[in-house]
């Protein structure tokens, strides 16, 4: 019952000093907001990237070109397809182009892969040469909609005509600024005769046979470059780790801003607070009771601030597409993104922000409360 009493006494104090409490909550929420947003966007992108790796091929094979990956000759394809442990192989072209003034990806796929896109297409899947699927970002930016008369030509060769047959339903970040066409069209577009950007190799599921020995020989000899799924997963994990970079910056800035904010807010009515602490001590409250009350107040302020920052972040990113702020977390997305910014909020984010805010507020106010309790009540009340 005593602890319940102290809980309500703490709440009563927050309400009696409403302005100070609200300033502290809003300052803390403002500091937590960019951190919560970074965590949410990071998690959303990681979720999408994990699927991109998991649903992709087991191996990506390309040729070595001056120490980097270069297009692979189609002469390798039949041999790779027939290797032990390979269930399927497919050639793919991935490149980039400036569509009007906008940099977009160009992906050339075989027929089977194009047909697999059907559930995500508003319109028709490309079946003939010269037909292309357009990403949602391009549609929104240029008002491009599949229909009679709409076509694209190449600036370098206006006899080559592309007709948009469908629009991709937005699914992930990388499916927005994209043109998808047949493998042959992409080959021709990039002037890569008899070549592919890389070859996608799908292993027999659960196969225990040592796969692709011949491939390993050619890899060791330096002729081919192979990226395997396990390596990509490790890379992904490392790339989305929170050990450095923007998170360090945000936490450091957060700490640097919180401490002066708390100093300022705790300075509001400092004399009044000291007086009240003195009165409580003089009327029988122990140091432990006072510290408990301060702790409860801080927990309530932090809970309110964390909740507000999460709700604000969710509303801003999901409702406003992260206007103005997404560009600090996702490159090239623009001031007013026309693509949905991936964001995924987890309970661990809320707990991390709660722990961070508690660490900051307690290190400030808790210490000052403890110091006050060491001073005699009469001195506090002066």
């Amino acid at each position: 019952m005593k602890h319940k009493n102290i809980l309500f006494a703490a709440l009563g104090d927050l309400m009696r000093h409403g302005l100070r409490s609200w300033v502290a909550i809003l300052c803390l929420a403002a500091i937590l907001f960019p951190i919560v947003t970074a965590l949410g966007i990071s998690e959303g992108l990681r979720f999408q990237a994990e699927i991109a790796v998991r649903e992709g091929a087991d191996l990506y094979v390309s040729e070595d070109l001056c120490g980097g990956s270069g297009p692979i000759s189609l002469a390798h394809l039949n041999r790779l397809k027939s290797l032990a442990g390979v269930s399927r192989g497919a050639a793919r072209v991935v490149g980039r182009t400036y569509f009007v003034d906008r940099l977009v990806a160009v992906v050339g796929l075989d027929e089977k892969s194009l047909l697999a896109m059907k559930p995500l297409v508003r319109g028709e899947v490309p079946r003939l040469r010269g037909e292309v699927l357009v990403g949602e970002g391009i549609v929104k930016a240029f008002g491009v909609k599949p229909g009679p008369g709409m076509r694209f030509t190449l600036s370098a060769n206006n006899r080559k005509v592309f007709v948009p047959t469908g629009t991709l339903v937005p699914s992930c970040l990388w499916g927005s600024e994209i043109l998808i066409m047949s493998f042959e069209d992409a080959n021709e577009f990039f002037r890569m005769k008899d070549r592919a950007s890389h070859y996608l190799v799908y292993k027999v599921p659960g196969s225990s046979s040592p796969p692709l020995e011949a491939l390993e020989v050619e890899t060791e000899s330096g002729l081919l470059r192979v990226a395997d799924r396990q390596g990509l997963e490790r890379n992904l994990e490392a790339g989305y780790s929170r050990q450095g970079g923007i998170f360090v910056v945000l936490f450091v800035i957060g700490a640097a801003l919180t401490i002066p904010a708390l100093v300022v807010t705790s300075g509001f009515g400092l004399r009044e607070m000291n007086r009240e602490t003195g009165i409580l001590k003089a009327t029988g409250w122990s140091t432990r009771d006072l510290i408990e009350k301060a702790l409860v107040q801080n927990i309530m302020i932090c809970l309110a601030a964390v909740s507000l920052s999460i709700l604000l972040s969710m509303g801003w990113i999901k409702g406003l597409h992260g206007a103005g702020i997404a560009q600090f977390y996702v490159a090239e997305i623009g001031l007013f993104p026309n693509v949905e910014v991936p964001s995924r909020y987890l309970p661990s984010h809320a707990l991390l922000c709660l722990a961070f805010s508690l660490a900051l507020t307690l290190s400030g106010s808790f210490l000052s409360t403890w110091k006050k309790t060491r001073i005699s009540p009469s001195e506090l009340m002066r």
Partner: protein, 237 residues
């Protein structure tokens, strides 16, 4: 009979050893017995409030001892002193020190919070005290909505809510009108009848002939002890 309050050469110095050293209380030894009404009397700056603070354990002495009910509390820990303030001593401050924004009953019952008393019990005890003090119709008023005399009665009720054995009042007549002074004196008399030891500090002449024992203070020193209800004077040391 042993005194309930005994100070032994108790002193409170500010900035000791420095040029701006102030000896607010200097080497005072006195005894107050149970159920006595004691008055610390003297002009402004005589050390009354400081001595009252030392006796009330809301200030620590620079030197000397304070003995309450036979126990030397000078070296008590903060926790033990809190218990004494909660269970044994009730203090009425000169400027009342009520919490603004809180109702009268909430102010009165605030010392009960750490005791674990439920809100209903706290209300009932506060209401009973305020009713006794003539504020039964002001339970839900904040201090800002009360007169000086009413605020003082709220402060007295707060000091009494934990049923202390000792009530300390610092300059109780300084912020109230004449009618309230009479009410206050009657109330202090009632508390004495209830068995409470009352200690008052004041420079108000009305207290020269009030109470069982009067301690004359001047410049931090005890200059004399007077028993208003008895004949003669006893020189203090």
């Amino acid at each position: 009979m042993d005194p309930v309050i005994k100070t032994e050469e108790i002193s409170k110095w500010y900035h000791p050893g420095r040029r701006d050293e102030v000896r607010a209380v200097d080497d005072i030894s006195l005894e107050i017995f149970e159920n006595q009404t004691a008055v610390l009397y003297g002009p402004s700056g005589s050390g009354k409030t400081t001595l009252l603070g030392l006796i009330g354990t809301i200030d620590r002495p620079t030197a000397g001892r304070l003995v309450l009910y036979g126990r030397d509390v000078t070296l008590f820990s903060d926790l033990e002193l809190s218990r004494i303030r909660r269970e044994t001593i009730g203090i009425v401050f000169q400027s009342f020190h009520l919490f603004s924004g809180m109702s009268a009953w909430e102010n009165v019952s605030h010392p009960l919070i750490p005791t674990g008393a439920g809100v209903r019990e706290r209300f009932e005890r506060a209401a009973a005290l305020l009713d006794r003090l003539g504020l039964g119709d002001r339970l839900h008023h904040a201090p800002e909505e009360l007169s000086g005399g009413q605020q003082q009665r709220v402060a007295i009720a707060r000091a009494l809510v934990n049923a202390p054995k000792i009530l300390i009042a610092d300059e109780p007549t300084s912020n109230i009108d004449e009618d309230s002074v009479r009410t206050l004196l009657d109330l202090l008399g009632e508390l004495k009848n209830d068995g409470i030891t009352v200690i008052v500090s004041s420079h108000d002449p009305v207290f020269r002939t009030y109470g069982d024992v009067l301690f004359n203070l001047n410049r931090g020193k005890l200059e004399g002890i007077h028993y208003p209800k008895l004949q003669g004077e006893k020189e203090g040391t």
